[in-house]
Symmetry: C2
Subunit: 235 residues, 2 copies
């Protein structure tokens, strides 16, 4: 590539805020850093973007190297460009978030020596993180709380088959408020994108609940229809 731009000692990085849901708690994926700066600190999985890869691809690669997770649907949410956010130079970082099923892939574990370990930590009661990662996390958390009200992202956190109570618990954990059971069920079912399975919960010492799964095809059908309706009005 023919470089004619000014040479700056600047790099960009990506940091990933990966949410999971386990034992009724919302969790975030952290690593323990194995290199300076902030060696031994907890941090979001992140690293420097290579010259020959897009930022989106870099985010996926870095997440894989630090945690073993791959094929995760990540979305950019904000770029952090303060001058002194990295003690060793000018690093602008692009923040991504994702919501995944804990245990949906094998255990999380770093593939490089850059991180000592990778682990899930409850979002409440987070320790101080390296760099400005606490701020990055907060911003991602706020984002998903808002997004959960108008996009079906909650299902990405649940196992494929789930009960309505599990779904409600998740909403309550993310939104941090109690919801009314009857209204919650009525509303969720009214959307029409939950598929009721013939199956029931097993191994519980009380009445077993029906299992549901999120029907992405139905959801997209509904969503596209809405968009088309809006388009028709607009034309």
């Amino acid at each position: 590539m023919d470089i004619q731009l000014p040479h700056f000692d600047s790099v960009f990085s990506t940091d990933c805020v990966i949410f999971g849901f386990e034992a009724g708690e919302l969790k975030v994926l952290l690593i323990e850093r194995n290199e300076e700066p902030y060696q031994g600190w907890y941090a979001l999985p992140g690293n420097i973007v290579g010259l020959e890869e897009s930022v989106d691809n870099a985010a996926a690669r870095i997440l894989y190297e630090l945690t073993g997770l791959r094929d995760i649907h990540m979305r950019q949410f904000h770029t952090f460009g303060e001058v002194n956010r990295h003690p060793q130079g000018r690093v602008v970082t692009v923040g991504y978030f994702a919501l995944i099923r804990i245990g949906g892939q094998k255990e999380v574990a770093p593939l490089t020596h850059f991180a000592r370990k990778a682990f899930w930590h409850p979002v409440n009661d987070l320790p101080k993180l390296a760099f400005d990662h606490t701020e990055i996390f907060q911003r991602a958390f706020k984002k998903i709380r808002v997004k959960m009200n108008y996009e079906p992202i909650a299902f990405e956190l649940l196992p494929e088959k789930f009960t309505l109570t599990q779904l409600q618990n998740l909403y309550e954990a993310v939104l941090n408020k109690k919801l009314d059971k009857r209204n919650f069920r009525k509303k969720m079912l009214s959307y029409g994108f939950l598929k009721e399975l013939m199956e029931k919960q097993k191994g519980v010492s009380y009445r077993a609940a029906k299992l549901y799964k999120f029907d992405r095809r139905k959801y997209q059908k509904i969503f596209q229809t809405e968009l088309a309706a809006q388009g028709a009005v607009a034309s």
Copy 2:
């Protein structure tokens, strides 16, 4: 600053999508480039971020240098990180948008030789822009269309005093659909953040309309109350 990071020949830039409203049309601020690459092309105002300035500050500085506009409230909306978006090297760009009153400041004009001119162009019927600026623009446009439905950003585009019909025309231009006059007025007034002035329109050859202004203090009061109510439920 003690640089111990890998040296990459990479830079970051900002590009600004500045919206204005004039003659019933939504417009975007463009420059004509005076340097390679894309010399002579139309582009969004943008340039490279300096090592010693935050990305946010750079966006403001660059906009000022290229258009003479300052003290504009800009918001980041997306970062564009494809490998080949700049023909001369690796440039990751952070996109910002703003909505302003055309004519609220003096005429737009570049302060540097980097741009030949700066001018307003209707958002419909945009020419091909330099780099991936068409995509950047589209993404910003989509953002404000969505945002206009739940934040009072429309007022940033209007003169301080405006009529309800002007406000409605603006909504119609941005959302690209016709709205019902009675419902629109009822809804806008019901929010309670429009202050009716003692003044009327002048110089029109028909019944003069009342002038209103956006009362930001009232808006914030309402907004904070809503937030507090949500917080109370959550606690």
